[in-house]
């Protein structure tokens, strides 16, 4: 569960990935494809895409819940990229922090290549399986519109569009939901969980979907001794302290016309969710739910287009 919350201003991203969308802007409303990558689905349901770091092939997990792209400590050593340190770079969920970053000579996602050096955070090795070199974050993605086609295993980048109607892949039901794009690139949308309005952060870098026990108590009046609240397991979230997970049988999560039945949203204590009490979203929606959707994130338009994953 990756969720880089803050990053020091001293970490300067040195330039957008080359061939930025706006350089290729076209007057027509036809979507302009910038890159189309095959994804590799990880055993935990997350997806990874092929990139090159200093012209060396690598796999990065796609993480809309982070702020900056990051690479593992080991990947940094492999690239000969020296770690630089700041007092505080940021923290992932469960209080796992990093204070290191490094500068890559080049960074490319498919045909899109950074015009110059690219700074990335360094994520603790324990957060990553050995086959994954890091995370692709919103610092890169938000320069484009991003389509997540989990069903077909595609990660597509398009030039920003301001035309209405980006749902090109289906004539089935789809929803268009306004979204907030925070300064840090996080995507927050409104939804309805079991009839109650909730704010949701889309986090493709999280295999599970979580909200805090305290938020669930407040929103739904779920008491701690509620019989429907079941302890699932306790794991070291992000390699940090052990975090107890509880399940609750939510019935539905709706984004406009699209409803996910029986969404697997687990509950964790507030101290693990965010010890400082985050304000932007009540639920971090991870791949346990997102995989059931086909998403098109129009960053400039601040609209989220979505349908069922299998819609065609």
């Amino acid at each position: 569960m990756k969720w880089l919350q803050l990053i020091l201003a001293g970490l300067v991203i040195s330039g957008a990935v080359a061939a930025r969308a706006d350089e290729h802007a076209q007057p027509s409303c036809a979507l302009q494809s910038m890159a189309s990558l095959d994804t590799q689905t990880l055993p935990n349901g997350e997806i990874a895409v092929p990139v090159t770091l200093n012209d060396t092939p690598a796999l990065l997990a796609v993480d809309t819940g982070s702020i900056y792209s990051s690479i593992s400590e080991e990947a940094a050593v492999e690239q000969g990229a020296h770690a630089q340190f700041s007092p505080y770079i940021g923290s992932f969920m469960n209080g796992v922090s990093t204070n290191a970053f490094t500068v890559l000579n080049s960074f490319a996602v498919g045909p899109l290549r950074s015009p110059k050096q690219w700074s990335v955070a360094i994520a603790p090795d324990q957060m990553l399986p050995a086959s994954i070199s890091g995370y692709l974050g919103p610092d890169v993605m938000r320069a484009y519109d991003v389509e997540f086609d989990f069903y077909h295993g595609k990660f597509n980048l398009f030039a920003h569009t301001n035309c209405a109607g980006a749902v090109y892949w289906t004539h089935d039901a789809a929803a268009v939901v306004p979204m907030k794009v925070a300064d840090d690139g996080h995507i927050v949308v409104d939804a309805t969980l079991d009839g109650k309005p909730v704010t949701i952060l889309l986090d493709t870098g999280s295999p599970s979907s979580v909200m805090s026990v305290e938020a669930a108590e407040k929103l739904f009046g779920i008491a701690k001794d509620d019989q429907r609240l079941k302890f699932v397991r306790s794991i070291s979230l992000n390699g940090g302290s052990d975090t107890p997970f509880y399940s609750f049988p939510f019935s539905s999560l709706s984004f406009g016309a699209i409803t996910v039945a029986n969404p697997k949203i687990q509950l964790i204590p507030q101290e693990n969710f965010d010890p400082h009490g985050r304000q932007d979203a009540q639920i971090v929606l991870g791949m346990s739910v997102l995989r059931q959707l086909h998403l098109y994130v129009a960053y400039d338009q601040k609209m989220l287009y979505l349908s069922a994953a299998e819609a065609h």
Binding site: T41, P43, E74, A130, H152, D172, T259, K264, S288, E310
Partner: protein, 382 residues
């Protein structure tokens, strides 16, 4: 059935003949169950996904891999290995499948197969040090120390400033009995990282392997000067004192951990042995601290034995069930149950178990078992 449905979507699906995607939804359900540690449900869903003709092709290999991991979770290693093999047939350069099959082979103690898979993973990503670390661990399990040393040497050539590599090689050289070379690496690491505890630990371990107990304890004291709150170092020092026959000092050292509000199950085991050898019980304060800890995970059963809450037979049976090729439950069970039998006046059982530990354990545990056996023989001959 599709999991994502709106009433409109359902209506359209019925009218327009939207194909159901059982394979995909079962795959998602399987992955979600795996994420909740519900292995049986995950295996069922993934089996349904794999049987479905509409599981997208790009998910077939990962479905085998995921099901294999769940089989491994429930100790069905042969089924796990078969699934990893199917994943590799579909995707011959599948790094995660090689790593998973490597671990499964290792759990079955099929070290040659494990090392072969780990080497295949390294061929996919040659510069990935974490894969080399895994192979080195396997080389150590298989007691192929020279191969481990060669792996370290190759990386040291490319990362000369990385003292952890020097210390790793020093450890392998020590295990291979090449003490002078081991000490040279440890000293080089010490020169490069003067204020680190770990070169001292390496030098102490090398001295201990040569039965130079005073040198060993001196180095661990130096390490403790740097890392004064590391309970592992106290345990190591206490074990060295125990091996040197300085039982009162050993008890004092293990007790220091608890005196500073620490808790270490191994410290409790060794404190119990040291105190028993001096004819005294462990203090009630420490016992109550230990009783308050979670003992469901290894070495909890050993602690329960030493607390008098279980039997040697139950511990040995449990360890045999839990043991795998990368961990040391079986070795530890033989060592600690053997030592417990010795302290409880059962020399035959103690001899049998400590002999097994001396044969099966690696490194320090082997040495401690050997010392315990020698002490028993000496006591028996007097």
């Amino acid at each position: 059935m599709m999991r994502v449905l709106s009433t409109v979507c359902l209506w359209l699906a019925l009218l327009c003949g939207v194909a159901s995607a059982d394979g995909y939804s079962n795959f998602n359900a399987g992955v979600a169950s795996a994420g909740r540690d519900e292995s049986d449900a995950a295996i069922k869903s993934l089996t349904q996904a794999l049987a479905s003709p509409d599981l997208p092709q790009h998910l077939q290999a990962v479905a085998y891999l995921s099901r294999g991991r769940e089989f491994a979770e429930v100790h069905r290693l042969d089924a796990a290995i078969a699934d990893y093999t199917d994943a590799l047939k579909l995707k011959p350069d599948y790094l995660d499948a090689y790593i998973s099959r490597c671990r499964a082979y290792a759990e079955n103690r099929r070290y040659a197969d494990a090392i072969s898979d780990c080497s295949s993973a390294i061929r996919v990503q040659p510069a990935n040090w974490r894969l080399h670390e895994l192979r080195i661990d396997l080389y150590q399990q298989a007691r192929r120390y020279d191969d481990a040393i060669a792996d370290y040497s190759a990386f040291i050539a490319t990362r000369p400033d990385d003292t952890s590599l020097l210390l790793g090689r020093a450890n392998m050289l020590r295990l291979a009995g090449q003490y002078d070379k081991a000490m040279a690496d440890a000293e080089a690491a010490h020169d490069a990282q003067f204020h680190s505890a770990w070169p001292y630990v390496a030098m102490g371990s090398i001295a201990f392997s040569q039965d130079k107990f005073d040198d060993a304890i001196g180095n661990i004291n130096s390490a403790l000067d740097v890392e004064s709150h590391d309970s592992d170092l106290y345990v190591l020092k206490g074990q060295m004192l125990w091996a040197n026959g300085r039982l009162d000092r050993a008890s004092e050292t293990f007790g220091d951990i608890f005196a500073h509000d620490g808790m270490d199950p191994y410290a409790f085991l060794w404190l119990s042995l040291s105190d028993a050898a001096q004819g005294k019980p462990v203090s009630a304060d420490i016992v109550s601290k230990v009783e308050a800890t979670d003992r469901t995970r290894w070495p909890g059963p050993l602690v329960d034995l030493y607390l008098g809450k279980t039997t040697p037979e139950e511990v040995l049976q449990g360890a045999a069930k839990e043991a795998d090729g990368l961990n040391h439950e079986q070795c530890e069970a033989d060592l600690y149950v053997g030592a417990w039998q010795q302290s409880h006046g059962h020399p035959d059982d103690a001899t049998r178990l400590l002999t097994a530990a001396a044969g099966a354990c690696d490194d320090m545990q082997k040495q401690l078992a050997t010392i315990a056996l020698a002490r028993m023989r000496k006591a028996g001959s007097q």
